[in-house]
Symmetry: C2
Subunit: 333 residues, 2 copies
DNA sequence: TTGAAAGCGCTAACAT
DNA sequence: ATGTTAGCGCTTTCAA
């Protein structure tokens, strides 16, 4: 099972050249004759040689890996399709490079220490962070790791130097404008946590659209992105603003909860009340009625995070990125 | 940003001992005096020293990482909550060790090459495989990697030496017996692909229960675990066996499709037709009615895969593991 | 264009 | 119990 791998020396011997030359070929450096290069390539193929990464890292001081660290208090949060899709995007982007992906789910102190250790032991050349809360301690750990850090999503305080985010504000605005365009005038919203950038910006987009249309934006309830909070918020809205004819909900998960409440109370969707969610996670296609929602370019987000990280690793100074969002119209509005 | 990390030599100098002693302390080997140990520990703390993993791997011939390779044709498949939960389980188990997790989504030839490269370059000490199809080429790549391989799920041909699987057969049997216990007698099933162990075993469990009860097991349609196939199969069953009063469906995703069809045709669930799914993915709690289903111990599966892999890496010969499944009764049956 | 040699930072075998 | 030394397999000067 552990049949020793061939070494670079063996390749050199077989190709009849020096180790220096083999190394040059492998890293396709200049100053190698055609003949030498071919001999080496042949030897590599013959021996099925693959460089030992430990030795290489030791010599180059680079690990050839990046880490994706996800901060989530609740393990269930990771089950959120959002993360899976980001990972798919990151993975796809990585296939273009020769980097590997280290995954760390750092919910606890322990997880954070793991990230710290990984970075300090130089096992990774950079970090991507999917942190949920404002001032997540994981961000500090990452920042102290001595390698470039790219954030998924902005922070409220603007403390993230490099990030890739979706244009949440514009997405919410599009959604609200759509509700207006189909004749709704008493539009409510269920927001996400307002101590998160994503929560605030979706709320702002909503208000902006209503203000532009001269509509009142006083129908507001707050949630925390969970399904249960969506249900509770919907119930509150129904009580406080019984006249509402539409509701823009800051996450699909909350929308699922809200739809449940509306169904219980016998309120027709979208007949009586139009509903729009946010995120376009898979669930949105399986609700009844199917959910009109704002799509975030989740895969692109993963891809761009990698791109940005690579630029930083190369020593460049990329600019933060904001990706467009798009309204997906289904049955619920 | 890249303030050079302290080296073991520096620790040794600071502690006033030899490098050998420092190394012994770090790997808590025997033969170190209390005094020396304390001096070293102090120096490590003072300098905030963390061993360089490249150097260590080079010397020990171990990488300190394992890879989780997921084979999925369709990227959407990875979005399946199943994978997310396995990852959570694996991650949790890893926190107990000092191993890191490398994630490879190997849908294509390219992804497979990545796995091959990772293994040959000795970047990982073992592989966990989540392969979907029988004879997945990824399995071959992993097997040739020269490190231990643990499979999630069995293969039909028995070609997997080490695996952790759920007791699918028993789960299906439990589900069918439950349907029988609530008085259903004309029970149908929608199977998964019968060229997969998981598909076959769920089907066998179904047949077993019906045979024991002396019921006919001729009401069968086949699907491929996707929602669409579930819908199609349900439609077929309804046509071919209009008298059926219950249906055991081999995956929750297919059950969602089937529920849609039943709803369209105005067949009451569970009144007219009782429905049981399989997997207990999150979706099962959000269908209408909520789905009675068989729970797989997904997190445990991740945990046990790691445990088995570690044993193999230590050179032990663990035995394959089959984890119990459990019926979760909700509204649909 | 090529070869030789000096590390990269750690472990492990061998002395003491 | 501790120190010393020879690698681990690669990259990268520096000479030639």
């Amino acid at each position: 099972m552990t049949d020793r791998q061939p070494t670079l020396d063996e390749v050199a011997r077989r190709a009849g050249v020096s180790r220096g030359t083999v190394s040059r070929v492998i890293n396709n450096a200049p100053h190698v004759s055609r003949a030498a290069r071919q001999a080496v390539e042949r030897a590599i193929k013959d021996l099925d040689y693959v460089p030992n990464v430990a030795a290489r890292s030791l010599a180059t001081q680079r690990s050839g890996a990046v880490v994706l660290a996800v901060s989530s208090d609740d393990q269930a949060l990771f089950t959120n399709p959002f993360f899976a899709e980001v990972i798919v995007g990151v993975n796809a982007a990585l296939e273009e490079t020769d980097l590997e992906l280290l995954l760390i789910l750092a919910a606890s102190e322990r997880g954070r220490n793991r990230l710290a250790r990984v970075l300090q032991s130089r096992r990774a050349d950079g970090v991507m962070l999917l942190a949920l809360r404002e001032n997540d301690p994981l961000a500090k750990v990452a920042a102290e790791g001595g390698v470039p850090v790219v954030h998924g999503g902005r922070s409220l305080g603007g403390s993230h130097h490099w990030y890739v985010d979706a244009d949440n504000r514009d997405g919410a605005r599009q959604a609200a404008e759509y509700l207006i365009s189909i004749g709704r005038t008493r539009i409510a919203t269920i927001t996400g946590p307002l101590d998160m950038h994503v929560g605030v910006s979706r709320y702002l987009g909503f208000r902006e659209a209503l203000a532009l249309a001269g509509l009142g934006d006083e129908r507001v309830a707050h949630g925390d992105f969970t399904e249960a909070s969506g249900a509770a918020a919907m119930a509150r809205l129904l009580t406080d603003h019984p006249d509402l004819d539409a509701v823009l909900i800051a996450s699909d998960e909350m929308a699922v909860g809200a739809l449940g409440v509306l169904k219980e109370r016998g309120r027709a969707v979208p007949g009586e009340i139009a509903v729009v969610g946010f995120d376009d996670v898979v669930t949105a296609r399986h609700t009844h009625p199917t959910l009109t929602t704002v799509r975030q370019p989740i895969k692109a987000l993963g891809r761009e995070m990698i791109r940005m990280l690579l630029a930083l690793i190369r020593g460049e100074q990329p600019t933060p990125l904001i990706l467009p969002t798009e309204l997906v119209i289904r049955e619920s509005a």
